[in-house]
């Protein structure tokens, strides 16, 4: 039996999506997986400096969305995750703009074996989930080198 892999979605993903993914991945008996949501684990509106360190203890892999340059989240979340050594995956905006939550589900399931393998990477590693080609019919999980991440403010 493989080790349990835990994926945690934040408020950028709706509860129905998380429930649907949970229903699908439970069918994979070879790879035990736990799918969580920050709003359920910590309540809606939990402070970032409370929930982020807690998920570090729980060895969760965070799946979020890079909302682009205007939100600031695209930099802040990787910085905090790197600081607390939390492996995280950012779903790129192009994918969501093209097909919304369904496209995100399609992408996650397409790279599922690679997603499970993310758990073996050094804690704090950042990945991007994106289209692999211009036809938008394939996806890839791309590792973002530590050198490309914003420098942690302090304490890393």
């Amino acid at each position: 039996m493989n080790e349990l892999v835990r994926f945690l979605f934040d408020e950028n993903t709706g509860a129905p999506f998380v429930e649907a993914l949970r229903t699908i991945v439970v069918l994979d008996k070879r790879h035990p997986t736990e799918i969580g949501h920050t709003n359920v684990l910590f309540g809606a509106g939990a402070k970032d400096n409370v929930w982020v360190p807690k998920i570090s203890e729980g060895k969760w892999i965070v799946i979020s969305e890079d909302r682009g340059v205007n939100s600031g989240r695209g930099d802040k979340l990787p910085t905090l995750c790197l600081q607390h050594r939390i492996t995280h995956i950012l779903v790129l905006p192009a994918l969501l703009k093209h097909g919304g939550q369904f496209e995100k589900m399609r992408a996650l399931l397409s790279v599922w074996p690679e997603l499970l393998n993310v758990a073996t990477k050094p804690p704090g590693t950042c990945f991007r989930l994106k289209y692999a080609n211009s036809e938008r019919n394939r996806f890839k999980l791309e590792e973002r080198p530590f050198s490309q991440l914003p420098a942690p403010a302090h304490g890393a």
């Binding site: 408020e11 402070k47 939100s71 703009k97």
Partner: protein, 61 residues
């Protein structure tokens, strides 16, 4: 709408729902409508409309 520098990295979010205004507003286009966006995030259409209005007001300013 609520803003707190320690929650959601300082982004404005819908009170009690805990989802950022930017996320819900973007979902209207991504899911092809307010009703579908509300269903995808398990919130009310009023929540989605409030988020969309807020983002529109920021862009108009």
């Amino acid at each position: 709408m609520v803003m707190d520098p320690e929650i959601h990295f300082g982004q404005p979010f819908v009170d009690k729902v805990g989802i950022t205004a930017a996320r819900l507003a973007a979902a209207v286009d991504e899911e092809n409508g307010k009703e579908a966006a509300a269903k995808a995030f398990d919130v009310t259409v009023d929540d989605v409309e409030a988020a969309a209005r807020y983002i529109d007001s920021l862009q108009a300013a």
